[in-house]
C-alpha cells in the first residue's frame, strides 16, 4: 500500500499526473459544491436561515467562486485533460518535462490545501473570488490565504503551459503535421498561450493587495496616491482571458466527443482552429473593461470595449458552427452518456453565450451589472456548461483511463437531473436579476418579492447536486466494479484510442507513425 502510494505521489507519468489533477480538482469541486448548496439553503427564505452570521455566508461565497474556478475548472481542463489527452492524441510517450509536470501537480495540491485552510483559520477570507480592494485590504479576513493560493496555482499553470507548448511543438508523432492535430490539442495550447501571457498580471494584482494589507504599501490607498481601480484592471486583464482558458478546452472536448459519436469530420476544421480558436486568442486581451462598465472608467474605453466584446461572437460563432455542423450528415449515436452531456452542453452554451450579448452592451450593463442576471449568465455559459464538458470528458475517457465501463443508466439519469436543474435554477436567476436582485446578498428582507424565485432556485440547485453526485458515484463504482472495457469502445479514429487499455507507461510499445492522409476525424478512409 505504501509503495503504491509513493508510486502515485512521485509519479512522472503524464497519465498518473493527470489523474492526480483529476482527484484534486474533483475534491475542490465537491467542497465548492457543498458551499453552493449551503448558499442556496441560506437564501431559500428571507432572513437568517441556516447561519445568522453574514461573514460565514460571505466565506462560503468566496470559497465557492475561488475553488470552482481556480481549484476545479482550470485544473480539470488544463491539468487533468491536457495531461491525459495531449500526449496520447499527438502520439508521444510522455510530456517534454515529466518531472516539471509532477512538480506542477504538487504545487496545485499545495494550493488546494492552502485554500482548504479557509475552514481552519480563525479569520477566513471573505473577499469574494475577485478580492477587490479597498475591502480586501481593510477587512479583518485573511487576504494572504487568497494571495498565496492564487500564486501557487498560477505558478503550476505557468509550468504546465511551458511543458505542453514544448510537448506539442517537438514531440508529435513522426509525420504528424499541425493540421492533423485534434481540435482539443489546438484549444489547449491556445489556452496555455493565454495563461503564459496573462497569469503574471494576476500574480501582480493579488500580490499588491497582500503588500497593501500586510506591508503597509499604498498601491490601492487613495489617500496616499494609490488608485482603487488599478486592481480591477489588472485582475480582469487576467481574469477575462481566464474565461477562455476554461472555454477553449471545454468547448474542444465537446468537439472531440461529438466528432467521435457522429463518426464525422469536424465541420470546417481549419476555420474552427485558425478562425475560432486563433480569433479568441487575439481578442481575449482586449475586452476586460466590460467587467468595469459601471466603475466610472472613461467613456471612450467603455464604449470601445463594448464593440470588442461584441466581436467575440465572431470566433465563438465560428466554433459553434463547427460544432453544430459536425452533426450535419453525421452518424449520430445519442445512446451514450458522454454524447448526451455533449448535446446538453450545446443548449446550455447557447443560452449562456447569447445572454452574454446584453452583458456586452455597456448601456444595458448599467442596469444588469452585479445583479443575479450576470450570475445566471456565467453559471450557464461557464460554470455548468463547463462542468458538463468536464463530466462529458471524464465519461468519454473513462474506459481508457480505468479499463472499465461505467453504468450507462445511472450516467443518463445523472445527466438529465443536472440538465433540468440547471435550467430551473439559472433561468430563474436571470429573471430575478433583470427584476433588480443584486448579487452577493446574504439576506433580501427588503426585496421580499423574490422569495418564491429563490425557493425555485434552491430546488434547481438540489437537482443539479443530485445529478453530479450520481455521476461521481458512477465513476467510483465503475472504476472498481465496472465491466472490462475494450480498447476502443466508441470506435473513434483518434490516436488516444489506439493504445492498450489502460495505456501502459510510455503509451505505445512502438510510437505511431502518421500517414500524410491520416486525420483524427477522417472516418471515410480518404481525404
Amino acid at each position: 500500500m505504501g509503495k503504491v502510494l509513493s508510486e502515485w505521489i512521485f509519479t512522472t507519468d503524464h497519465k498518473r499526473v493527470g489523474i492526480l489533477y483529476l482527484i484534486g480538482s474533483i475534491a475542490a469541486f465537491c467542497i465548492a459544491g457543498i458551499m453552493a448548496l449551503l448558499i442556496r439553503a441560506e437564501l431559500t427564505y428571507i432572513g437568517p436561515t441556516i447561519t445568522d452570521d453574514p461573514t460565514t455566508y460571505n466565506v462560503w461565497l468566496y470559497f465557492h467562486g475561488a475553488a470552482m474556478i481556480l481549484g476545479f475548472q482550470i485544473p480539470a481542463l488544463t491539468g487533468f485533460m491536457a495531461n491525459y489527452f495531449i500526449p496520447l492524441m499527438i502520439g508521444a510517450k510522455d510530456v517534454a518535462f515529466p518531472r516539471l509536470n509532477a512538480f506542477s501537480v504538487w504545487l496545485f495540491f499545495m494550493g488546494v490545501v492552502l485554500a482548504l485552510l479557509t475552514f481552519v483559520v480563525p479569520d477566513p477570507p471573505d473577499i469574494m473570488w475577485t478580492g477587490y480592494p479597498p475591502y480586501s485590504v481593510i477587512t479583518t479576513g485573511n487576504t494572504a490565504l487568497y494571495t498565496f493560493t492564487v500564486l501557487l496555482i498560477g505558478f503550476a499553470s505557468i509550468i504546465a503551459g511551458i511543458n505542453f507548448l514544448t510537448t506539442v511543438s517537438f514531440m508529435r508523432a513522426k509525420g504528424m503535421g499541425w493540421n492533423q492535430l485534434n481540435v482539443f490539442v489546438w484549444a489547449t495550447i491556445a489556452a496555455f498561450v493565454i495563461q503564459l501571457i496573462f497569469v503574471p498580471v494576476l500574480g501582480t494584482a493579488v500580490l499588491l493587495i497582500a503588500f497593501d494589507k500586510y506591508l503597509g504599501t499604498n498601491f490601492f490607498d487613495t489617500t496616499t496616491g494609490g488608485d482603487v481601480l488599478t486592481y480591477q484592471n489588472l485582475f480582469w486583464f487576467y481574469s477575462h482571458p481566464a474565461v477562455y482558458v476554461i472555454f477553449l478546452p471545454f468547448f474542444a472536448i465537446i468537439m472531440e466527443i461529438v466528432a467521435t459519436f457522429c463518426k464525422n469530420m469536424v465541420f470546417n476544421y481549419k476555420v474552427v482552429v485558425y478562425g475560432g480558436i486563433g480569433g479568441i486568442v487575439l481578442v481575449s486581451g482586449e475586452v476586460w473593461v466590460h467587467h468595469l462598465f459601471v466603475t466610472g472608467m472613461p467613456d471612450w474605453i467603455r464604449v470601445g470595449q463594448m464593440v470588442t466584446t461584441l466581436l467575440i461572437s465572431v470566433p465563438v460563432g465560428l466554433m459553434l458552427i463547427g460544432l453544430v455542423g459536425t452533426l450535419y450528415k453525421g452518424s449520430i449515436d445519442l445512446s451514450r452518456t458522454p454524447m448526451q452531456y455533449a448535446m446538453g452542453f450545446i443548449f446550455l452554451f447557447l443560452i449562456g453565450g447569447l445572454t452574454g450579448i446584453p452583458n456586452a452592451i455597456a448601456s444595458l450593463d448599467l442596469h444588469i451589472s452585479d445583479t443575479y442576471f450576470i450570475v445566471g449568465h456565467f453559471h450557464y455559459v461557464m460554470a455548468v456548461a463547463g462542468t458538463f464538458a468536464i463530466f462529458a470528458g471524464v465519461y468519454y475517457i473513462f474506459p481508457k483511463m480505468t479499463g472499465r465501463m461505467y453504468n450507462e443508466t445511472v450516467g443518463k439519469i445523472g445527466f438529465w437531473l443536472s440538465f433540468v436543474g440547471t435550467n430551473v435554477a439559472f433561468w430563474t436567476q436571470m429573471e430575478m436579476g433583470l427584476a433588480g436582485m443584486p448579487r452577493r446578498y446574504y439576506d433580501y428582507a427588503h426585496l421580499p418579492q423574490f422569495e418564491s424565485d429563490q425557493m425555485v432556485m434552491t430546488v434547481g440547485s438540489v437537482l443539479i447536486g443530485i445529478g453530479f453526485v450520481l455521476a461521481l458515484g458512477n465513476w467510483i463504482h465503475g472504476a472498481i466494479y465496472g465491466e472490462k472495457a475494450p480498447d476502443n469502445p466508441w470506435g473513434s479514429n483518434s490516436l488516444e484510442w489506439t493504445t492498450a487499455t489502460p495505456p501502459p507507461h510510455g503509451n505505445w510499445p512502438v510510437l505511431p507513425t502518421i500517414d500524410p492522409d491520416w486525420h483524427p476525424y477522417n472516418y471515410k478512409g480518404k481525404r
Binding site: 479597498p134 453525421g330 448535446m343 450579448i357 443584486p438
Partner: protein, 274 residues
C-alpha cells in the same frame, strides 16, 4: 470528378438555405422592432427597456435557429446501423473561406448594429440634462449620505421632486459601493479617490411608491445586503416646501451652533435696547 463536385455543392444547399433564412429572419425581426429612440424626453430608462427587447428578440432568433438546427440534425442524422460513418462535407479552400467569412459578416453586422444602438443609449445615460438638480453622494459602510445643493443632508433617503432630472456626484469614504436604482435602470460605483456620476428622471407615477429602493450592488462587507436606501419622489410643490423648511432649519441650526454669531445677535439686541 465533375459529377462529384456538383454533388458536393448540392450537399451544401440545405445548410446555406438555413443560413440565409437565419439572416433574413434576423434582419427582418430587427427592422420590425427598430423604432428610433424618442428624443423629446431624454430619460434613458424607457430606452433601456426598448433596447432590451430588441436584444432579446435578436438573441432569441439566433438561439432558436441554432437549437432547431441542432435538434433537426440530431433527429435526421441519427445512426441507423452500427457500421455507418458520417458523410460530412469536405470543403475546397473557397468553400471553407466562404463558410468562415459569410457567418463572420452576419455576426459582425449584428454586433455593429447592437453596438450602435447601445452607444446611442449610452450617450443618453451619460449626457445629463442641463436643467438638473445635483446632489452629492458619499457612500460608506453601510449608508448612503446625500448632500443637497443648499447644504441639507439626508441619510438613506433621497427626496426628489417629480419631473426634475437628478444627478448624483458620487464618492465613497471607505470601500467600493454601487448605487443601484432598479426603477431607473441605472447604477454606478462610488469609490474613494474618484468622483463618478449617474442621473435619473423621477416621474409623477413614482410618487408615493415605497418600493423605489436604492440597493448596493458591489460587495462591501458584512452588512452589504442591508445597505438599503429609498428614493422618495414628491409633488414638486411639496418638495419645494420641504426643501426650504429644511434649509431654514439648517441655517437656524448653523447660527445657533456658532458661538460668535450668538454673541453678535445678543449685542445687536442690547444696542437696540430690547
Amino acid at each position: 470528378m465533375c459529377k462529384n463536385d456538383v454533388k458536393k455543392r448540392k450537399d451544401l444547399y440545405p445548410a446555406l438555405l438555413c443560413f440565409s433564412l437565419l439572416f433574413l429572419l434576423h434582419s427582418s425581426g430587427v427592422y420590425a422592432f427598430e423604432t428610433s429612440l424618442s428624443d423629446t424626453i431624454n430619460d434613458p430608462a424607457p430606452g433601456f427597456d426598448e433596447l432590451w427587447d430588441t436584444v432579446m428578440l435578436d438573441i432569441t432568433i439566433m438561439g432558436v435557429a441554432f437549437a432547431a438546427l441542432t435538434l433537426w440534425f440530431m433527429f435526421r442524422y441519427r445512426r441507423k446501423h452500427p457500421d455507418q460513418v458520417g458523410d460530412g462535407p469536405r470543403f475546397s479552400a473557397v468553400q471553407a473561406v466562404g463558410w468562415a467569412l459569410i457567418p463572420a459578416f452576419i455576426f459582425m453586422a449584428d454586433d455593429f448594429y447592437l453596438a450602435a444602438k447601445g452607444w446611442q443609449l449610452w450617450n443618453k445615460y451619460r449626457d445629463v440634462p442641463a436643467d438638473r438638480m445635483e446632489v452629492k453622494l458619499e457612500s460608506g459602510m453601510y449608508s448612503w449620505d446625500y448632500t443637497y445643493p443648499n447644504g441639507i443632508q439626508t441619510q438613506n433617503l433621497l427626496r426628489v421632486p417629480a419631473g426634475k432630472p437628478i444627478m448624483l456626484r458620487m464618492t465613497s469614504r471607505d470601500t467600493i459601493h454601487s448605487h443601484f436604482l432598479a426603477r431607473y435602470r441605472v447604477k454606478e460605483d462610488s469609490m474613494p479617490g474618484r468622483v463618478t456620476y449617474l442621473w435619473f428622471y423621477p416621474k409623477e407615477e413614482d410618487i408615493g411608491d415605497k418600493d423605489n429602493l436604492v440597493t448596493c450592488t458591489e460587495f462591501c462587507g458584512v452588512m452589504h445586503s442591508y445597505m438599503i436606501g429609498r428614493i422618495e419622489v414628491m409633488v414638486p410643490a411639496e418638495f419645494d416646501q420641504w426643501y426650504s423648511e429644511e434649509e431654514s432649519r439648517l441655517s437656524r441650526k448653523k447660527s445657533n451652533a456658532t458661538g460668535e454669531s450668538m454673541v453678535t445677535v445678543t449685542k445687536k439686541n442690547i444696542e437696540q435696547g430690547s
